[in-house]
Symmetry: C2
Subunit: 338 residues, 2 copies
């Protein structure tokens, strides 16, 4: 039995989901793959807990919940964070789940590059560095002969990157058309079912915690555009960055437009298109009772292929444990190769 | 570069799709996986073509199309078929795509067992032998240390068995609920959109070639029940055979029932349920605009998991090239291990 040491940077909703998921699954992973998972370091934005002997997942979650910070973790709590943490511990894989930053991709970019240079594998749910510097990151990972996985960055628990790679090896994927943002899908679904205005529905979504206080990244299509770039690069092998995506959000959609579509048997959805000819995110009409007609916060993606025709996946685009499930899948796929 | 020799038994729609798919993809498979695919034998119900040096896929398709049989294949056409063919050629993998037989699983069962005993891997799209003798077949494959793959047997081009295995390794799958028969989904969708009766819609489907002249296997739920058993065994590890499935078909569904459901925001679908507590195929109400609301001949399956919550796949449940894509995926997964 060998150990597999994890350094977890980022301890918000997704990071805490990762700790929960590892706690739930480490026994079965040990039995199935012969590796003992150990979280040796966890860091939030201003504190950390570090121990070569492994940290207790439940105690990490309790410390964060009780004190809001990790420096109160018994015996092993510290006041450092970020890259500092990578320097102070020996680990096999970095799980990086800091907030997405679409300005410069930091701190995700520096953390990943630092890990690559130390010959460590990296799993991330981050979109910013991938949307801005995909090629550079992949090249650096390849140069150092390490693995870099990011299933959780697109669609949360909806499998899409591994899905295209592992489940459809016989087909060429020609394009991906999908709903890649749960918040806007929720808003449009509610506007359709309730006949309510955009602003009222946005406010309701904010009260429910589905939309953020500043909803710009979601409603203006920025989040979906990041995911579009990641799929373009990773699945369709298109060398693109964030600025190559044409983006129109949903903030100008009226209840009248939705009503009119509805009468003709259509729904309005914020659709991301990934194809060699077009990278765009925009509101489009989709047929009722088609695979695009999923409601609520669900994400979906239809892969157009040469042999299998159209194949669609649908799943939860967000959620703490759901996103952690995609991170854990990447982690297991790395462990399998060790 | 090493050869990978294929013996293809069954040369109807699916078998011809396999020949087409191999013809389309052998070059890229050679480049990617370093194996030269060669079809060394093909057999339909009463004739065959066999050559150690490999057969030409286009000539096989042309011979079948021109003469209806393979014994007219230039130089290498023969009058034998079935198990005989397995004895007369050296091969690495049997692709068995004979018609499903739910009475005794033949000839699929004997062909698979014969191949296993000769230490050959087997890929199949057949449902009969799997629905009746799953455990025996898997045990015999394991005993001989060979691979036995059957993605195409459930859902055609819709990935489900490999999907559960490879894309969701972090989650336990608790149940699968899905639409596993395209013909009945087409009939119910048309009854819903057109308000027509079951019998009129069945007749229309038969004229379009979507329903068979004897539609029993589809409309009485037998086909879906076979797939239910295969998923129970392969994904949920439930030791079950065909007789364990409760089956109700769609032949008693009236247009009034469909109308009534529609008024309340529901659709009637033939739903297969695979869970430790229940193996059943029956008409059930599903919500409009839910992942279950797919139309036409599409298949879908929702996997309920512990970490990823619900994940759904949708795809073409039938079609010559579509089903062949699933067979080719299995073949590639075998080649990868060689």
């Amino acid at each position: 039995m060998t150990e597999f040491k994890i350094c977890l940077i980022g301890f918000g909703a997704v990071g805490q989901g990762v700790a929960k998921a590892i706690n739930m699954k480490k026994q079965s992973i040990q039995e199935k793959y012969g590796k003992e998972l150990k979280i040796v370091a966890v860091s939030d934005s201003s504190s950390s807990a570090i121990s070569d002997n492994g940290l207790d997942e439940e105690l990490l979650l309790k410390t964060k919940s009780d004190f809001g910070k990790l420096n109160k973790y018994p015996e092993y709590g510290l006041d450092n964070s970020g890259e500092d943490v990578l320097d102070s511990v020996d680990y096999d894989c970095l799980i990086e789940v800091t907030p997405t930053n679409i300005e410069n991709g930091e701190p995700a970019k520096s953390l990943a590059l630092k890990a690559f240079k130390s010959k460590k594998d990296v799993v991330t749910s981050n979109k910013g560095h991938l949307a801005l510097f995909y090629k550079e990151l992949i090249e650096e990972a390849n140069l150092n002969n390490v693995q870099f996985k990011f299933e959780a960055s697109v669609g949360g628990a909806m499998p899409i990157i591994n899905f295209a790679d592992e489940t459809l090896p016989s087909s060429n994927i020609k394009s991906i058309i999908g709903i890649l943002n749960g918040t806007t899908n929720y808003i449009l679904s509610r506007m359709t079912s309730e006949g309510s205005t955009y602003l009222n529905t946005l406010e309701e979504s904010q009260q429910l915690g589905i939309a953020e206080t500043d909803p710009t990244q979601d409603v203006e299509g920025i989040d979906a555009a990041c995911k579009t770039v990641i799929l373009a690069n990773s699945v369709l092998n298109i060398d693109a960055t964030y600025k190559d995506v044409e983006v129109v959000g949903i903030s100008k959609i009226t209840s009248e437009a939705i009503d009119l579509a509805k009468k003709e048997g259509y729904l309005i959805k914020l659709i991301a298109e990934v194809s060699p000819n077009s990278l765009r995110v925009s509101p489009r009409l989709v047929r009722k009772n088609s695979p695009y007609a999923v409601e609520g916060t669900l994400n979906m993606a239809t892969l157009k292929t040469d042999l299998a025709d159209e194949v669609t996946v649908v799943g939860k685009g967000a959620g703490s444990l759901e996103t952690a499930s995609a991170i854990l899948t990447d982690l297991i796929n790395i462990i399998k190769t060790k």
